[in-house]
């Protein structure tokens, strides 16, 4: 027994002796790298850049995630999705309590850009390759800042990453012009450093064309009435005592036109030494509806200046499909959107307001232009020769401009050989679909890929196009029209390119700039439908109080027993939207942010 005792004692004492206090606990992870250490490896620098790209929000989701409340928050569409941010916007209840992610996310990803620019000095790589990466990051910083600027107006912008010890209460909103200038400088820097087009394995990376496109849209917005001498913003002063929005200057339109033209000329190879890398997309069939279908389903076609690879997106596909194709019908274009499409001959079926919008009576009835050929009674007695409609569809959908058929699924329209049935007792209607019915009687067709089959769970890879040449044409036409007292010939040239591709006859002058403004606005609404333009266009034109504060109409989805039941085709109030001017022209700065940084001036009305 003595031996056992000795052994025990020996073992215990040796354990005690072996363990010297701090070394036993010195056990940190070894693999952790500091930022300079990570940037010393080219591989990690590249990964850092990949991560910055991941900050590009998924604008393809119109429903819940607040990165794109804009499509459902405008008069284009109703998004049927419980808790969608678009619904807050539509009933005017968006308040400083709502902390939409773009506010913080733009700043967070700008910080990553700044960290990248501050640390790339440590990376050992060729100066040329390094310059391209630096150019990409300048574009990305410009892009992130633009996403916040278009929602909030002036935002705090940094050219360096902040230290966590910073006194955050000193953060302030600069002026709108400062923000624009900062973003423009980043775009110019990116343009200088980047190739016109990346090779196909690198699609998705920033290009010089993308930088010019961003600059074009930014300067177009900056020249527009909302930001260019808007009297409602005159009193808005930041904590430094500066007026946050500038006085009117027509020169901004000229700058916007110049930026758009540069983007077009550079992309199409019209500049000395440049080669044509981009062009307006046209389908081989020459059919305008096919062109608009393929533009959004043939990834990375010649018109795409900048897009993000979304990959498969199940929820999006469900939202854009009717129940009969296993979808939810959650993206429902409004009757107002349907009314915006013209007749095949280019004439507008309805009387318009002075702002170029369809004029509605108090009961939501538009006035049909006599002789336009449009009627809301009766049903088609034969199929369309182009396959746009079939016999028995409502005459509302007969003989409209081709883009209507490329963008909208309506009752009786054929999609993948499936006939949509949005009336009450129809397969996709309220009675059969339960929660999964279209709230307006329409479902979006734009962006839908015929190869997607929800029943077999076949879902195709999708891109979301941020900038395409068609938009820049329209940017150019609009800015040029505003910059001059007469309609510049280029306005006709570029507007007609869009109309021709869309299947509309070309415009032949003369028009006054005011008439032309209306035509350009109508064209933007149709050509760029559901691409996140309408929301910002209606605001920058200061017409949102007319377009977004009214009753939104759909069809009478609570009625109709067949395709040809006229009960279904009655214009029916879908919801009353609220828009308070000037409050709802900008988004509110989150209250939680102002509680931390009292110097952040709240936007008017909140």
């Amino acid at each position: 027994m003595k031996r056992i005792q000795s052994i025990t004692m020996l073992v215990s004492v040796s354990i005690l002796a072996l363990v010297s206090c701090d070394s036993y606990l010195d056990k940190g992870p070894e693999e952790n790298m500091s930022l300079p250490e990570a940037f010393a490896e080219r591989l990690y620098t590249e990964r850092f850049l990949n991560n910055i790209y991941s900050g590009i929000p998924n604008e393809m989701d119109f429903h819940n995630f607040a990165f794109n409340p804009f499509v459902g928050g405008s008069d284009e569409m109703e998004v049927t999705f419980a808790g969608a941010v678009a619904q807050l916007i539509n009933n005017g209840s968006l308040s400083p309590a709502n902390n939409l992610p773009i506010w913080g996310r733009s700043a967070e990803w700008s910080r990553k850009c700044n960290l990248f620019l501050e640390h790339i000095q440590y990376t050992d790589m060729s100066p040329e390759a390094k310059s391209v990466w630096i150019g990409e990051v300048h574009f990305l910083r410009a892009f992130f800042n633009f996403l916040a600027l278009r929602m909030y107006g002036p935002i705090p912008i940094y050219d360096h990453s902040l230290d966590p010890g910073t006194d955050f209460t000193t953060i302030e909103r600069g002026t709108y012009q400062e923000c624009v200038d900062f973003i423009v400088r980043d775009c110019d820097e990116a343009y200088r450093r980047l190739p016109a087009r990346q090779n196909s394995a690198e699609y998705g990376r920033a290009t010089a064309a993308a930088a010019l496109a961003l600059k074009s849209r930014l300067l177009l917005y900056a020249a527009s009435p909302q930001f260019n001498g808007n009297p409602d913003y005159r009193a808005l002063v930041n904590s430094a005592g500066e007026q946050m929005f500038p006085e009117y200057s027509r020169d901004r339109w000229a700058k916007a036109a110049e930026a758009a033209k540069l983007c077009i000329d550079f992309s199409e190879g019209n500049l000395p030494g440049a080669s044509a890398q981009y062009q307006l997309y046209e389908a081989a069939s020459g059919n305008p509806a096919d062109s608009h279908y393929e533009l959004f389903t043939k990834n990375w076609n010649q018109e795409v200046l900048f897009a993000s690879n979304i990959g498969t997106n199940m929820l999006f596909e469900q939202c854009i499909h009717p129940k009969g194709l296993n979808g939810f019908s959650f993206y429902a274009p409004t009757q107002q959107m349907v009314d915006a499409y013209r007749m095949a001959d280019g004439s507008h079926p309805f009387e318009l307001t002075g702002e170029g919008q369809v004029a509605y009576s108090a009961t939501g009835q538009p006035t049909i232009v006599p002789g336009s050929g449009y009627t809301e009674s009766g049903f088609a007695d034969s199929d369309s020769p182009d396959g746009y409609w079939t016999a028995s569809v409502s005459n509302m959908y007969v003989n409209r401009e081709p883009r209507f058929y490329a963008h909208i699924n309506f009752a009786g329209s054929l999609w993948r050989n499936y006939r949509s049935e949005f009336w009450y007792t129809g397969n996709d209607g309220l009675q059969q679909g339960g929660a999964n019915h279209s709230k307006t009687g329409y479902v979006i067709r734009k962006f839908a890929d015929k190869n997607t089959n929800l029943l077999n769970q076949v879902i195709t890879q999708r891109t979301w196009i941020w900038f395409r040449l068609g938009e820049i044409y329209l940017n150019y036409a609009e800015a040029l029209n505003e910059a001059h007292d007469q309609v510049h010939p280029d306005v006709y040239t570029y507007l007609n390119k869009i109309r021709r591709r869309g299947g509309l006859p070309e415009l032949i002058g003369p028009h006054t700039p005011q008439q032309m403004r209306m035509l350009i606005r109508q064209e933007r609404r149709v050509e760029l439908a559901f691409e996140t333009h309408r929301f910002f266009d209606s605001r920058r034109w200061l017409i949102a109080d007319q377009t977004d504060g009214n009753i939104i109409y759909g069809l009478n989805i609570g009625a109709g027993n067949s395709l040809t039941d006229p009960e279904f085709y009655q214009r029916t109030p879908m919801e009353k939207r609220t828009f308070v001017s000037p409050r709802n022209y900008l988004f509110p700065i989150p209250e939680s942010e102002i509680q931390i940084v009292p110097a952040l001036v709240q936007n008017p009305g909140f």
């Binding site: 027994m1 940190g28 991941s54 990553k112 953060i171 699609y203 129940k323 029943l455 009292p598």
Partner: protein, 1049 residues
């Protein structure tokens, strides 16, 4: 007075009438010093043996005989029988019989036995005196398990509670935590689920003190272990350590309090075999009550009308929902009835053998537990889809005496558990059961396939529960403890011992899930040509099979010296301990978490008492964790306590009060479970989201700045605790009373400075440095009252009760500088909710126009009217205020009684909680928030505001046909008082009388029936008041009715 003096076992010879405080303190300090240095105690004189007056004379004698039994009538062996004021003594035999010769002049017999209250009986005419001895609760030698040791109960001055194991065993549950609810002062608890294997109650010692982990650590046989691995049948004792003195020895782990469980050990004697078998029926309680299809359709139409829309269902359709004439197109399915059973069963079996001799003592228990769930199954599948837990427990404690002063203790626990369940998981299925509206789909289509639609991923709840495959989890928990106790009394100095403990624990688990994709079709009526029309939502898909596993191991080593000795009136008890520990998570997801987590430290305690009258205790922990930066790893946590037992004073004259002890303690304890990531002090970079590039969407990985470290800042949080207590014992402890008041300041709660860092700074929440900046305060009072007695007629009764009230406040929390006080956490209870104050409902359009503008969404008559708290004329989120009570109750109490008479016993225990609030939210109380897909609670349906009706008693707003942004938000309208009072537990038992037992050759045979959660009184009605806030889609708690038998061979 004379008697009291004599009762002191070691008379104090030194002439001291007064005990100056300075002297006491000096003695105490000496004792501590001596204790800590382990030096042989020479400063005190050796105890003198009481002189005995041997001058007794024998004159005449008379012989008296009798039998001595306890309250239950069991004979008591080894009772000392003496004749007062003479030297005559005797002792009872195993049958409890004695025989004593009484000298002349002897008039009173005195009966004393360990564990029993001494009794004196005057000798009368009879020569036969039978006596019933009461079990003593006032046992001067009774010890209580405390941190790293035991302590005499009388010398305890910290806040320490124990629980009587016979009470714990009355609760027939696999989860020991449930059996503790309401039975211990200072223990606050909530049981939020009745799901087998997941029905543990959350236990908090003295309420909440932080925002992270408030659970106490659980020590099983000296080692930190999971409470849920312990089987009630194995447990010898449970101690709760509450104040700083008691928990300081646990240093950076002790701040939330400590629960110490000691498992049973063998005692010298012939093998005793105990078999306890129990079978119980479990009945689900408080299933939510939903409206039927007809009501649903009418309500939906009402919602459409309220919204100014046309009704959807026509009257003939509604009729078909009501009359069930077309169950396929107009179904009315109560999914709760279809998917869930009303009741299920549970069995508990335990067989243990204990015994031993001088050399070896053993206790071995084998336990089997099976608890079934409430899900229905389809007999066609051989595998089980119901929730079911099987657990096998093996506990073996063997003590071997190696030599006269060396004892080895080998403790082994093996817990093997199988948790099976449906493939989709019980939580998902309960969600669909509770959410699925009754009118959507039939359970089966006309062709026998399952009805389904797009809602709920093309499944119906029954199909999910029975045909969705299964999950299976097997876990094996091994607990090994090896201890060597070396008594150094002879080698070094008396009272000194050295104990070394090595333990290894390993938990290995693996699970699999087999998820089946089943064809789902929606029946859409009949084609004109007579064939059934179906819409196929989902084609049968290959099953998905996945597995997961875990493997963690802990090694610990303790080396501990104890010194316990009495020097005359001075008692010293002390301990010094060194420990090391290392835990490894073998299957950690990343390199950082795969690193072993290590702790190291020393702890000590010294208790000094003088005559058990003045007691001083000092304890400390000095320990560290590798999780903090060098220089910030170790903390020193001292605790000190003083006690004064006034009833032991010579001036104390109230004989009925045998104990009156005032205790006070103060000290610091730490908490290193701060909820922060590992190595939070380090700045990190790491893998991050990547991006898809190129025509082929190739995925490229990303890398990013991670957390920004803070070398200087991060360490444990610190609790400063004060406790003031009073123990009172009356009538030789037949009535005891204890009350403690406590206050705790928690400082340095670890938080990320998210709330004071604006998002626009560019810091994402994951990047922000952590800092020890939070502060809370927790105050409370707890009390306990207990009475027990046996009447002359042999009726034993005991009554006991306890009550706890705690209130925790946030003193400082990272918050924006401009947050208004009424919304700030500071100054408010730790877990109250921010909610709007509902004033009622808008009566009409005029009422809306005359009220402050509500900005959440369009407002109609019948919508909720809120208070404009900040008076800015607008109701928005700036009008939310902190309201209600926390969900964890501030007030908890329990009381009960036991009666025993001639083998029969009856007991009941009631528990209650107060100052707690419940918020309901979610689709079933926000009707049609998901369109017409989700269930509506009858509670809402019957109490909604109706246009044109008398709405004076309306409790809920008018119904909307979609999300109602004004009504569907957290407000006081949906807040309920979740106080409750329940009959937690009751038992009736019958022990077979001894005569029959002898015939059966058994030591004991007892039958019993008992139950848990038998009756409930509360204000909530719709859901159990302990459940989590929200939508009630939680596994219901269950009422247990249990029958069992215990046989001791």
């Amino acid at each position: 007075m004379e008697m009291l003096k004599k009762s002191i076992t070691t008379p104090d010879k030194t002439p001291r009438r007064m005990f100056p405080a300075a002297k006491v303190l000096q003695d105490a300090c000496w004792a501590c010093l001596v204790a800590l240095l382990f030096s042989p105690a020479t400063v005190f004189a050796n105890p003198t043996i009481a002189e005995i007056d041997g001058a007794t004379r024998i004159v005449t004698q008379r012989e008296i005989t009798g039998r001595i039994v306890d309250e239950q009538g069991n004979p008591i062996e080894a009772v000392t029988v003496s004749v007062k004021e003479t030297a005559a003594t005797g002792m009872t035999d195993s049958g409890g019989n004695y025989r004593i010769a009484v000298p002349a002049g002897g008039a009173v017999l005195v009966f004393t036995a360990t564990g029993f209250v001494p009794q004196e009986v005057s000798i009368g005419a009879s020569n036969v005196i039978d006596v019933v001895l009461e079990h003593s609760t006032e046992d001067l030698d009774e010890v209580v398990v405390v941190g790293f040791g035991t302590q005499k109960k009388v010398s305890i001055v910290g806040a320490v509670s124990t629980i009587a194991m016979e009470e714990v065993r009355r609760t027939p549950t696999p989860s020991i935590s449930q059996a503790l609810v309401g039975r211990v002062p200072g223990l606050v608890s909530r049981q939020t689920s009745g799901e087998p294997g997941k029905d543990q109650a959350y236990l908090y010692i003295r309420g909440l003190s932080n925002w992270n982990d408030n659970t106490p650590i659980v020590i099983v046989d000296g080692i930190e272990r999971d409470l849920n691995t312990i089987n009630i049948a194995e447990v010898e004792s449970i101690t709760f350590l509450k104040d700083a003195t008691a928990t300081a020895v646990y240093g950076i782990r002790g701040a939330n309090g400590v629960i110490i469980i000691t498992t049973k050990k063998g005692e010298i004697g012939a093998p005793v075999i105990t078999l306890r078998s129990e079978v119980a029926q479990l009945t689900g309680m408080r299933f939510p009550d939903f409206i039927n299809s007809g009501e649903f359709a009418e309500l939906w139409n009402e919602a459409r009308l309220n919204d100014g829309l046309s009704p959807t269902y026509r009257s003939e359709e509604i009729l078909r929902f009501y009359d069930g004439s077309d169950p396929y197109l107009y179904p009315n399915v109560n999914w709760i009835d279809e998917v869930l059973e009303k009741s299920t069963m549970q069995t508990l079996h335990n067989l243990n053998i204990s015994g031993g001799n001088e050399r070896v003592r053993y206790f071995v228990n084998l336990g089997y537990t099976m608890q079934d769930g409430l899900f229905k199954t389809d007999p066609q599948f051989e595998y089980g889809t119901n929730v079911r837990m099987h657990r096998y427990n093996l506990r073996s404690n063997v003590d071997v005496t190696l030599s006269s002063n060396l004892v080895a203790e080998i403790g082994l626990g093996l817990i093997s558990r199988q948790d099976q369940g449906p493939g989709y998981g019980s939580a998902a299925i309960l969600n669909s059961v509770f959410d699925y509206a009754p009118h959507k789909i039939p359970m089966y289509n006309p062709d026998g396939t399952f009805g389904a639609t797009i809602f709920n991923n093309y499944t119906n709840p029954y199909m999910q529960a029975t045909h969705g495959g299964y999950t299976n989890l097997l876990s094996n928990n091994m607990q090994g403890t090896f201890t060597l106790k070396w008594d150094l009394g002879k080698l070094v100095t008396e009272g000194l011992s050295w104990t070394n403990t090595f333990s290894f624990d390993q938990n290995v688990w693996g699970s699999n899930q087999r998820l089946k994709g089943i064809t789902s079709k929606e029946y859409e009526g009949i084609y004109s040509y007579g064939e059934d029309k179906y819409h196929v939502w989902f084609e049968k898909a290959p099953e998905i099979y996945s597995t997961a596993a875990g493997n963690t191991r802990y090694l610990r080593f303790f080396s501990q010296a104890n010194y316990n000795r009495s020097f005359g009136a001075h008692g010293v008890s002390s301990m010094l301990m060194f420990n090391l520990g290392e835990g490894v998570n073998l299957l950690a997801a990343d390199g950082t978490n795969a690193l072993p987590s290590r702790v190291m430290g020393i702890s000590g305690r010294a208790v000094y008492d003088f005559n058990q009258r003045y007691i001083a205790e000092f304890s400390f922990g000095y320990n560290g964790s590798e999780n903090f930066a060098p220089g910030r790893r170790y903390g020193f946590f001292p605790g000190v306590a003083l006690g004064w037992n006034i009833a032991n004073e010579s001036f104390w004259k109230i004989g009925q009060i045998n104990m009156l002890k005032i205790r006070g303690s103060a000290g610091k304890v730490g908490n290193d479970r701060t909820g922060g990531a590992r190595f939070a002090y380090l700045s990190t970079t790491g893998s991050a989201d990547g991006y898809l590039f190129g025509e082929s969407f190739s995925s490229r990985v990303g890398y990013a700045e991670g957390r920004i470290g803070s070398e200087k800042a991060i360490t444990w949080e610190e609790a400063t605790k004060y406790n003031l207590g009073l123990d009172v014992g009356l009538f030789r402890d037949k009535l005891t009373f204890q009350v403690d008041a406590f206050k705790e300041m928690r400082d340095g709660l670890l938080v990320q400075r998210t709330a004071s860092t604006p998002q626009v700074s560019g810091f994402g929440s994951h990047q922000l440095p952590w800092a020890n900046i939070g502060k809370t305060e927790n105050k409370g009072i707890e009390g306990m009252l207990q009475a027990r007695n046996t009447t002359a007629g042999g009726l034993f009764y005991s009554v006991k009760g306890n009550i706890t009230f705690t209130r925790s406040l946030t003193v400082f929390r990272d918050e924006p500088i401009n947050k208004p006080d009424y919304q700030a956490f500071r100054g408010h209870s730790l877990s109250t909710s921010l909610a709007l104050v509902a004033l009622g409902f808008f009566e009409d359009q005029e009422d809306i126009l005359n009220s402050p503008v509500q900005t959440f969404g369009p407002v109609r008559p019948g919508d909720i009217k809120y208070r404009d708290v900040n008076g800015d004329g607008m109701v928005d989120q700036r009008d939310e205020v902190m309201v209600g009570h926390p969900q964890v109750p501030e007030l908890m109490y329990g009381f009960g009684f036991t009666l025993a008479y001639k083998g029969f016993d009856v007991s009941a225990y009631f528990t209650g909680a107060g100052n707690a609030s419940y918020f309901s939210y979610g689709p079933t109380v926000y009707p049609f928030v998901w369109g017409n897909d989700a269930n509506v609670q009858r509670e809402f349906y019957e109490h909604r505001w109706r246009p044109g009706a008398d709405n004076t008693n309306a409790r809920y707003p008018a119904v909307s046909s979609g999300p109602n942004l004004n009504n569907n938000r957290i407000s006081t309208l949906y807040m309920r008082n979740s106080s409750y009072f329940r009959l937690k537990n009751a038992e009736i038992g019958y022990a077979i009388p001894e005569r029959t037992l002898t015939r059966l050759k058994l030591t004991n045979l007892r039958f019993f029936v008992n139950g848990i959660d038998l009756l409930l009184w509360d204000n909530l009605g719709i859901v159990d008041p302990e459940m989590n806030n929200g939508n009630s889609a939680q596994y219901p708690k269950q009422r247990t009715i249990n029958t069992g038998v215990e046989i001791i061979f």
